[in-house]
């Protein structure tokens, strides 16, 4: 589904990613782990198309098409979704109205009419149930005054609504207590299918107990220095990142 080849990226002239190779197939869950400053968030921003992240070398091929030259919204239309570590607050625009706007923008880009109101409502109801979100929450201003857990649940709710091919979950476990973590992970697991793929970016192994990855990669100094199965995550949890640093 997504094939990243020798990806180099920089922010404000500073090289952060130094040749990433990653191949994610449909139906797979990959986890990227690594210490602070290893380039995890840069990788997610580069895939999603943040304009401050310059891809200087390499390619990101999603279903045969290179994403590198596309704007963020075009990548979204192709099926890329990023769950933000710090979702942005938008006062005056409710969760419901925001998701309607997003869904219809995606449909428009694909040449479809707006989603009929009834269908939209049903879908919102179905997906909000999945994440145990009540209707009062849906009428609140987007992310404004949301707790950490509410913000992340809202991110996954948007993922559920937009049905992306590739979802990147950037530090989705940060700021979550165990109950919220379970709800979020449970939602993600229900969205897993043979047709989509998920890239989980996390510092800790905790989230991976609930969203079990097929592959784990360790990022250090802008490169993937080790790949393995979920056991690698457990190893990292026990030993920390120092042995990886030494190895690199």
């Amino acid at each position: 589904m997504l094939s990243i080849e020798n990806l180099h990226a920089q922010v404000e002239g500073k090289k952060i990613l130094n040749g990433i190779d990653l191949d994610i197939k449909a139906g797979e869950v990959h986890a990227i782990m690594g210490p602070n400053g290893s380039g995890k968030s840069t990788l997610s921003a580069a895939i999603a198309g943040h304009q401050d992240y310059d891809v200087t070398k390499g390619a990101m091929i999603l279903e045969g098409e290179d994403l590198s030259e596309l704007d963020a919204e075009e990548r979204a239309h192709k099926g890329v979704f990023l769950s933000f570590q710090y979702p942005v607050e938008i006062p005056g625009v409710s969760v419901t109205n925001f998701i309607k706007t997003a869904i219809n923008a995606n449909r428009k880009a694909k040449g479809f009419e707006d989603m009929p109101a009834k269908e939209m409502l049903q879908k919102i109801r179905e997906k909000s149930n999945l994440l145990e979100i009540d209707s009062r929450f849906l009428s609140r201003s987007l992310n404004e005054g949301f707790s950490g857990g509410e913000k992340k649940r809202n991110e996954i709710f948007q993922m559920a609504m937009l049905e992306p091919k590739l979802s990147i979950l950037d530090e989705t476990d940060s700021g979550l207590d165990i109950d919220a973590l379970k709800i979020v992970a449970n939602g993600v697991n229900k969205l897993r299918s043979k047709d989509n793929a998920i890239l989980v970016i996390t510092h800790y192994q905790r989230l991976l107990e609930y969203i079990v990855p097929d592959f784990v990669h360790v990022l250090f100094d802008g490169k993937i220095v080790k790949s393995g199965t979920k056991d690698l995550a457990i190893q990292l949890e026990e030993k920390g990142y120092d042995w990886i640093k030494e190895m690199a």
């Binding site: 999603a48 198309g49 943040h50 304009q51 401050d52 704007d71 963020a72 919204e73 990548r75 979204a76 239309h77 890329v80 979704f81 990023l82 933000f84 979702p87 942005v88 938008i90 006062p91 005056g92 625009v93 419901t96 109205n97 925001f98 309607k100 706007t101 997003a102 219809n104 923008a105 995606n106 880009a109 707006d114 948007q158 937009l162």
Partner: protein, 438 residues
Amino acid sequence: MEFKEKLLASHLAFEGSIDFSDSVHQTRLESLKTFEQKGFPTRKDEAWKYTSLNSMLRNDFALFPETETTIEIKKVKKYFLYEIDTYKVVFIDGVYSPFLSDTTHDGLDVCLISAALSKSKYRKFIDTYFNKIADTKDSLTSLNTSFTKEGAYIYIPKSVVAEKPIELIHFSTGKEKSLWLQPRNLIVVDKNAQVQILERHQSLKPHQVVTNSVTEIFAHQDSFLDYYKIQNDFSTASLIDNTYISQQKNSNVSMHTFSLGGKLTRNNLNFYLKGTNANATLKGVTILDEKQHVDHYTLVDHIKPKCESHQDYKGVFSEGAVGVFNGKIHVDQIAQKTNAFQQNNNILLDDKATVNTKPQLEIFADDVKCSHGCTVGQLDEEALFYLQSRGIPKKEAKALMTYAFANNVLESVELPILKRRINILIAKKLGVNLGFDL
């Protein structure tokens, strides 16, 4: 002849059109002298540093169109809050339109100042209130006073809660190529009374119209006044709004100003907090493009202790629009325990727009809480990325962000139907296809 000379020369003819035996005529004449001495303000005046009237004053304005024009209701319906029942005082080219109006004397007075000036039963009121809070040294206010003839007169008696909002609407038809209007309003909200008022100046087609309006408002003890100014005119129409508000003990006045269109709009908004525990709210949303100019010049004068004032003005500017905010807070030496807050935030959507923002704090008491903040910036790139990453194109994402920024001020709008209207106006103005009903 310069416009100033024309105005002075025309006063004699003006006197012929009114009953100058009324009790305010001496005030008219004195005010004319003040205007004659001071003339129109220029950019050399500190208060007019960023706003020039020069080019506007070059027009040859018609001053007193006499004939009453009728307009079909269906053509102007959209300018009213037609969804709900309201009192209405409507003027067309400066002349009262009984046909479009819905006035009352039943339990409260919603009528004309011309009536109040001519009838003896209002004499006491006029003597008590007329020109008593307006700045008699201000040249434009004096100009208005000297030609006092028509406008709204509103009196809400003690403990009366006005059941319907009052709409003050001034239409200009464009029958005169250029027109100078000077409405004069007097509003008294007596003890423990409550009222909601909307004011709108609207031209019906593009033409040079300048309105130099003066409104005096007296909010007595424990009264509530909720006032909305809707400024969304053609970019040929200019407005100089001089509003003076006197607040007594425990009174609560909030003023929302929505400036969404017009060639030149100057809002001189003056609050005088004359009784303890008075509460003043000043909020504004300004969204301008092209060659439009809005200047908010506010004064909040904390004269008595324990009063509170909140100012929150938001501006969005693009394509050569100019925004000015000058917010003056004066705290008298005896006005201890004052809480005075002021906030002015602006977004420039491109590099052709300009904002001048200037807080002015004069604090002579020592036990006060005062704060002010102003920002001029662009939209947050991170927030735009967030919206784009959901598939919303950048242009729409910008519009949505701007909408959210301005929309924040609307939370305190107490009339749901008006809130909805303004929401839609703002969305339209920003070209946001929100993809949902508001």
